[in-house]
Symmetry: C2
């Protein structure tokens, strides 16, 4: 199966699939003409990656998840541990973003937003 079809089936752009080949994440067979040749298994891995990336796992984490995915004797604890670490980071980012949002929202509401130059937003940004 050519890269275009693998893209259609996995939901990833062809360009991304080639990139995953370049970095050794999902390496397809090659035909005599040099074209990449994907099969059910490699397409499955691509779909796996798409979902894992959507969940915010880094490429590096995806690499580990993928190797666990392929290891039929894995311990589910290893997978859970990876996911938990990721969850903690997501929570951290969420808190930061919520804090940021609160400050920003406060600033926006404090500014009249008219034609006059005095602006609490700029005042806050320039405060020590």
């Amino acid at each position: 199966m050519n890269v275009r079809d693998a893209a259609a089936r996995s939901g990833l752009p062809a360009k991304t699939i080639r990139y995953y080949d370049d970095i050794g994440l999902v390496v397809p067979d090659r035909r005599a003409n040099g074209y990449r040749d994907y099969n059910d298994q490699t397409v499955q891995k691509l779909a796996f990656l798409k979902r894992a990336r959507q969940l915010g796992f880094s490429i590096d984490n995806c690499r580990q998840l993928l190797s666990l995915y392929e290891d039929k004797g894995r311990a589910s604890g290893d997978v859970k541990s990876l996911a938990e670490k990721h969850l903690i980071e997501v929570d951290k980012r969420l808190e930061e973003l919520q804090q940021l949002r609160a400050t920003l929202s406060h600033l926006v509401h404090s500014c009249r937003g008219d034609d006059r130059p005095d602006c609490p937003i700029l005042a806050d940004l320039s405060k020590d």
Copy 2:
């Protein structure tokens, strides 16, 4: 004032300050020996940038904010408009992250995380 002192006063790393000079964001005077020479005004701008970056404004937005900051005849509405746009993007990102967190958390809790290989997390990642 040398870049080191400007760093100490603004709270930004010296490297970042040089970078801001490179991209024309805050351009200091130069001494005869070629050293950057910061004054109260440029340090003030650096501090402004630090705060704006902390609030998640992009460098590009910072450039606009900075020019509004310097424009004593500005309309506060222009500042508010920028901030509002940014707030909308933050809200979007927050929603995405919350959705992601919910899914991830659900997956984590569904996995026993023991020595056995069967794992709902991997099962979910590989589902169509």
